[in-house]
């Protein structure tokens, strides 16, 4: 299992297009991936869960991946948000 804290640098936050890109990327990995914000944990592969997370620009979220490609997953997703 790999975890990483990431600060959202995208002005839009994790909404609309960036959210779609994030979820799309997450779905390319085999690992189970979750995103946590203020104690609320959601499935990174579900668009509705990511949209309801309400992650705004500048806030910090924790990405957790567990599975054979967990390292690449966290790396790729963190990169998308920076």
């Amino acid at each position: 299992m790999i975890q990483r804290n990431v600060k959202i640098s995208n002005k839009l936050g994790l909404h609309a297009r960036p959210a779609a890109e994030f979820v799309e990327k997450a779905n390319t990995f085999k690992s189970r991936i979750s995103v946590e914000k203020d104690g609320k944990k959601v499935n990174a592969k579900s668009i509705i869960e990511i949209l309801t997370l309400g992650a705004k620009y500048g806030c910090s979220i924790k990405i957790t991946a567990e599975g054979e490609d967990e390292a690449e997953a966290v790396e790729a997703l963190a990169k998308l948000l920076s």
């Binding site: 609309a16 297009r17 779609a20 979820v23 799309e24 579900s46 668009i47 509705i48 869960e49 309801t52």
Partner: protein, 131 residues
């Protein structure tokens, strides 16, 4: 890839929702609309719905989003009139129109199956808009 059909009484609602969705899916998904009557009144037309389902069906199925009441009846009637092969792979999502369309189109773009896309779309009802 699952196709998405937006069925609404209003072509303005359908067009607007389509625009919103395509902003996110950028042409990756086959999405179309069947809204209003042929003479541009508010309403739904089962004949038009059937034609559109046939147009966007790729073999992976079609998920239909509907707005109010008779959109469901018109869609059910349209599905009954489809060829056997298309009929069993065309489903209606019991979900709010706009939010459902967004989720359906995105999940379809991730290559998920018809049943998965339907379930995820219907899960929208569980989430609070106001967080």
């Amino acid at each position: 890839m699952v196709g998405i059909l937006l069925v609404s009484h209003s072509s303005k609602i359908a067009q607007g929702t389509l625009e919103l969705v395509e902003q996110m899916t950028k042409g990756k998904v086959r999405i179309d609309i069947a809204a209003g009557t042929a003479d541009n009144r508010l309403g739904t037309d089962a004949g038009m719905i059937k034609q559109k389902i046939e147009k966007i069906h790729s073999g992976d199925g079609v998920l239909v989003l509907v707005d109010l009441g008779s959109a469901v009846m018109s869609t059910e009637l349209a599905i009954e009139k489809l060829d056997e092969s298309l009929r069993s792979t065309t489903l209606i999502a019991d979900a709010p129109f706009v939010e459902g369309a967004v989720v359906a189109a995105l999940e379809a773009s991730f290559g998920k199956s018809l049943e998965e896309v339907k379930k995820l779309t219907e899960d929208v009802k569980k989430y609070s808009k106001l967080g």
